[in-house]
Subunit: 323 residues, 2 copies
């Protein structure tokens, strides 16, 4: 199934199913009003959602209409919990080298809790107070869980994955360095994330879902120019391990979003990066200094992932603006 | 006004007003069903809530009933955002000394984003997976905000404070040290917090609300023995400054909870502490080694604040149990 949230009133919008080719949509009227409601009652509601999805894809769903991805909200316009990992070892090792840290952590995932009371719609302008904060994007894959019990193991955790998302985790690098030094993690450096318009179930990914990882390239364009196309299969920890890490001392509520961290590959010089900080790190290692600046107001950032030439999640395509 | 959430079904419970002496309550039927709803529409609903509160305190409210604090939920059983500061300089300086950090940060508040999809009811048992994590309590005051715009200053921020809470921010110290070292902040070390049953408006505090601070002693008892009675007036940053810090790069949604961090006073050897970690720090400074151990399963922790001999928020009184 592919699902989206349409901007039809209320902070949580209205849930819709979207056809595999993203061409048409149908409201889930009578089944669930919102994405959160569908997640809260997934076991009960999934059969009816699935039947309607099949009808939509067969062209037999009544009341279907053209899907306008640019008018969708984030699949979850707000969520009770956003826990973002840093699961790509290539990125961690590079950053450790740049900052002179001897041992990047590989025995368990890095993870922080971020702002979840708003996820920005995929075509909305994204406001920041000042360019001086070092505005950066971070292309990530993420999963949305159902209710997850405390103490679950990584294998069982995978069964609680309900949906897969494409996320831009906007990051303020100047602010972020200062916040990291406190040990308290990020608040000011991590304002709201953006999300691609369509959430997909793992079965929808076919062979692009394997080993608890998303085997797709995350295409990142900055002002119309390809910046990165790193592959999601290179995660050092799979999503099951990230969920188990999050649930070691707490249970997770339905609608918890777990992020992979910046998608990054060991051959980053060839495939590019999913954030500017990583490219700057490569420049520092190669040339002794970073040449690439952070984002400026007016810049556009686009993210998408294709399978067999077709957009899986729809695109995030946004302009950075002054708040 | 004093408000509480009663366990009458649903994850968000039912909103009630509570009399000043915590003896009686009345449901806010017809005004607002839940605390979150009251916060979302505060400007519109506050006059009717206030009128009903006046009637309750005058003994003229129809359908009032005895308030059983031990059966209340947390005032906000779940919240969209929990941002916890560390605003008491005495605590920060002590911890810096113990850990050999030269310059504790005093130019701006320390803050992390914590778990907010559940706040534990004031008399519920509190489950943890293992004593080996170093289970500790942290007594704090907190405020609940309305909608706060990005970029607000500290003075204006105070006008967005809707309610004051008493919180126990449960902390796992062994896990926490490792998570701090990553720079990503705490996830496993900070499971759900507990909250005292009654949320109060600032006008209800009288002269105990001044300078954006709560001028009350936070009484902490561990297994029936007084452990601390530190005063909330010693905050190095006021709640207006904490809100402004949180809102520098994001707006805050109604129902955001902002915590003070562990209440701590410079004369901690006399007044005691609001967490075990602080007492252990004092022992390390005085005697070279910590004597006091962390919590064990079966231990009880009680927190309360009195004004003129009367409980302001009701008590948190809980037992630590094995998950």
């Amino acid at each position: 199934m592919k699902l989206a949230t349409l901007d039809l009133g209320g902070r949580d919008g209205r849930l819709a199913l979207v056809s595999r080719d993203l061409a048409r949509a149908v409201l889930t009227t009578g089944i669930a009003d919102t994405m959160q409601q569908a997640l809260d009652e997934w076991a009960t509601l999934a059969p009816a959602l699935s039947a309607l999805s099949d009808a939509l894809n067969a062209g037999t769903a009544a009341d279907s209409f053209p899907f306008e991805a640019s008018k969708a909200l984030a699949p979850l316009p707000r969520a009770w919990q956003w826990l973002d990992g840093s699961a790509f070892h290539a990125h961690g090792e590079l950053m450790a080298k740049v900052f002179g840290i001897s041992n990047p952590q590989h025995d368990q995932p890095l993870m922080y809790q971020g702002m979840s009371h708003r996820f920005i719609a995929p075509a909305s302008p994204v406001p920041f107070p000042t360019e001086a904060d070092g505005i950066d994007f971070e292309g990530e894959f993420a999963v949305v869980t159902g209710d997850v019990p405390l103490g679950i193991d990584a294998g069982a955790a995978r069964d609680h994955i309900r949906l897969v998302l494409l996320i831009n985790d906007w990051s303020l690098r100047v602010t972020g360095r200062a916040e990291m030094a406190t040990g308290f993690g990020w608040v000011q450096a991590k304002p709201a994330c953006s999300a691609a318009p369509v959430a997909v179930t793992v079965d929808e990914l076919g062979d692009a879902w394997a080993d608890g990882r998303i085997h797709l390239n995350l295409l990142v364009d900055w002002n119309g120019k390809r910046f990165g196309a790193a592959h999601g299969g290179a995660m050092g920890f799979c999503f099951g391990q990230l969920i188990a890490h999050a649930a070691r001392t707490r249970d997770l509520c339905a609608g918890t979003i777990i992020g992979s961290g910046t998608v990054s590959n060991p051959d980053y010089r060839e495939v590019g990066s999913s954030c500017i900080a990583e490219r700057r790190g490569i420049e520092i290692l190669d040339d002794g200094a970073a040449r690439t600046g952070f984002l400026q107001f007016g810049d556009r950032v686009r993210m998408e992932a294709l399978k067999d030439g077709q957009s899986v999640f729809g695109a995030i395509d946004q302009q950075v603006v002054k708040a």
